[in-house]
């Protein structure tokens, strides 16, 4: 039952992903992308990471995609011209397929290490996913977290510097 559901979601995710690269209008592509985001959020829930699923929806679908769509609107971009694809489509396909083949190959042949950590599904249920993440982020990964703040600052400053009209 669960596996069927998985396949279903996976199918939707892949098809939406395909729509992203196939749709003529950027807006449609964006919508496809949002769809994928949702599918991934579902996966996250299935993987016992409900907080991540929430963040996924809020940050990606809510913030980033809105930003993107906003820019699309701002620039008033309609459907792309007839030549949607660049010339090197054959090579691009080959390259992408090679990447896919490689990745599939190493997933098939590769081996992920067995479970070692203590963040079991049980732990998640008993402590709450959010709490666990919060603890980890403010203790073990404090420094990256701080750096992330600088990163955002840089992004803001940068965006402002670039996008404002006059000096």
């Amino acid at each position: 039952m669960e596996i069927i559901f998985f396949y279903l979601v996976a199918l939707v995710a892949v098809v939406s992903g395909f729509l992203v690269i196939r749709c003529q209008s950027p807006i449609n592509s964006g919508l496809g992308l949002v769809n994928t985001f949702f599918c991934l959020a579902i996966f996250y829930v299935m993987l016992h990471a409900p907080f991540m699923a929430a963040v996924q929806i809020m940050v990606y679908a809510g913030a980033i995609m809105v930003l993107i769509l906003f820019v699309i609107m701002l620039l008033n971009l309609g459907a792309e011209a007839r030549h949607r694809y660049t010339k090197g489509i054959v090579w691009s396909s080959i390259a992408s397929l090679m990447i896919l083949a490689n990745v599939i190959f190493f997933i098939k042949r590769g081996r992920v290490t067995g479970a070692e950590g203590d963040i079991t599904a049980f732990a998640v249920e008993s402590f709450g996913h959010t709490e666990l993440i919060g603890k980890a982020i403010f203790t073990e990964f404090l420094l990256p977290f701080e750096i992330a703040s600088i990163l955002l600052l840089v992004a803001i400053v940068g965006a402002v510097v670039l996008a404002k009209k006059e000096v």
């Binding site: 090579w91 691009s92 390259a95 090679m98 990447i99 042949r109």
Partner: protein
Amino acid sequence: MYDKLWLIPFFPLLGAIINGLLGKRFIKNEKIIGAIGTGAVFLSFLVSCKYFIQLLGDSVKSHQNIVASWISVGNLQVDWGFLLDPLSALMLMVVCGVGSLIHLYSIGYMHGEEGFYRYFSYLNLFVFSMLMLVLGNNALVMFVGWEGVGLCSYLLIGYYFEKQSAGDAAKKAFVMNRVGDFGFLLGLFLIYWTLGSNHGVWTINFVEITKNAHLLSGDMILGTGVTTVATLCFFLGATGKSAQLPLFTWLPDAMEGPTPVSALIHAATMVTAGVYMIGRMNILFAMSPTTMFVVALVGALTAIFAATIGFAQNDIKRVLAYSTVSQLGFMFVAMGVGAFTAGIFHLMTHAFFKACLFLGSGSVIHAMHHALHHAHLDDDAQDMRNMGGLKKKMPITWATFGISCLAISGLPFFSGFFSKDEILWWAFSSTRGNMFVWAIAVIAAFMTAFYMFRCLYLTFYGEQKTNPKAKDHIHESPWVITLPLVVLAGLATVGGLIGIPHAIDIAHIGNKLNAFLAPVFQHSQELYKIEAHGTASTEIILMVFSVAVALAGIFLAYVMYRKNPELPAKFTAKFSALHRVVFNKWYVDEIYDALFVNTTKKLGIFCWKGFDVKVVDGVVNGVARLFGVIAATLRHTQTGLFQNYALTMVLGTAVMVAIFILN
């Protein structure tokens, strides 16, 4: 006491330096310059005389005077050293003696020339070099002189440097000499190396070489005896310097120089250096019958070959030049058949009569030149067709010239008779002799007599063919010119008496020269069984025969040029092709040009334009250009398109991952 030997070459060197450095700016006066030049050589002559006399009275016949070490590197020890032995002493006398006379002569001959100081400086430098050549106690000092005389020859031939032909001739002389030097050096290396590495005697000293030469008898190189190869190399050197086949062509051209130069360098001294060198190394040559035969053969062929060309020349100096080549051939015949003494003897007598001939011709040319100049004519002052009948105008010149012609033709009791006869006798009867060589030599002697008298008749007899305008301006030359002529003619007459052959030595004077030179040659002649054997009667018969041949030659000349002056023209008309070939010197120069000069030039052009520019630089520039092309091609991968960049990245990644995983 022979420790002042270095004075002999020193004086001319000093003279050369003084005249060369100070002549133009400070001395200026021709008389003083001439006096310095002549005086320097004369001083050398005096010193030479002193040592000559001293040597005569000395029981030890070989003396070395080492001034300083020259090159000293390990085994190779070369000194600035001089060697006085009978051979070099005799040469000293000839060189200094004849040299002084020619210097004296030059004062008159060169009078009024722009580069008077230069001329005397060169001439002194030449005498210096010649004396180094003669006196050197080792092969390298000899080589200094050897090349030095080549240099001076170059300088003096090119004395009239504004004339293209003079420059060409000078260069030709030097280069041909260098070809010879190439042989000389190789021979020297071979002897030095073989003696050293096989027998532990590292030396190039003549005395040492002579002493140790017997060690070489078993050494082989290239399947032949070392001595044979080495002496052939040396002989190549000799052919260059002494203008033998095949390197003789420079000598006739060398007549571009002033006439006294021809007399001194291209008749009396330098060109005989090859003969002298063989004499110096007689033991090595004696060890190799093969080389000896080659020497004799080349000598004989040269003698006859040059003589044929001498037939057809109209330039008085050229006739003499070919005659010189021919006579040098005789000397080589002598050396080749083991008649070392005879060779040196002929060298000496030749120095006298040929110098006299050249100076005589110089006197004529001088007179002609003056006359023509006076009459503002452009006729060739050296062409015998413009002369004739000068006997009356220039009696002294005529007399001396005539005597010398008799001497060179080998008429009895003139100096040439004794020396030439001895050569023929040895060629006939020596253990190294050869009938063939003898026969050629006899024919050459006949021809010599013929063309020398042809020259004499054309110049001094018959009617005067000079342009009438100039006719009356021809006078006898001044005393500085005639005095040397007289002295040399005298020597040409009596000089032979020091070497009277045993067979006709009625007065029992003895062969003084033979005795004198014995210390030098006897050793090798005895060691290698070189001797002339035959009865006195045979010798006398041969002598008579050769005199008859000479007389026949003279008679023929008389018939053709005195009695029936129209005969030669008929003759040439009949054999015009032959005449043309002979007149053009058998086209040897042209053949050489085609074979060597042009080939070398073409090779040079090929190396430069073909190889250097096309191949080497072509590769270099080609690589540079290739990189340029590759760069220009590769830069187009940088399309500026984002997606191409991304594609490259992805492909790169995919390939890398694939390789990694598949490994």
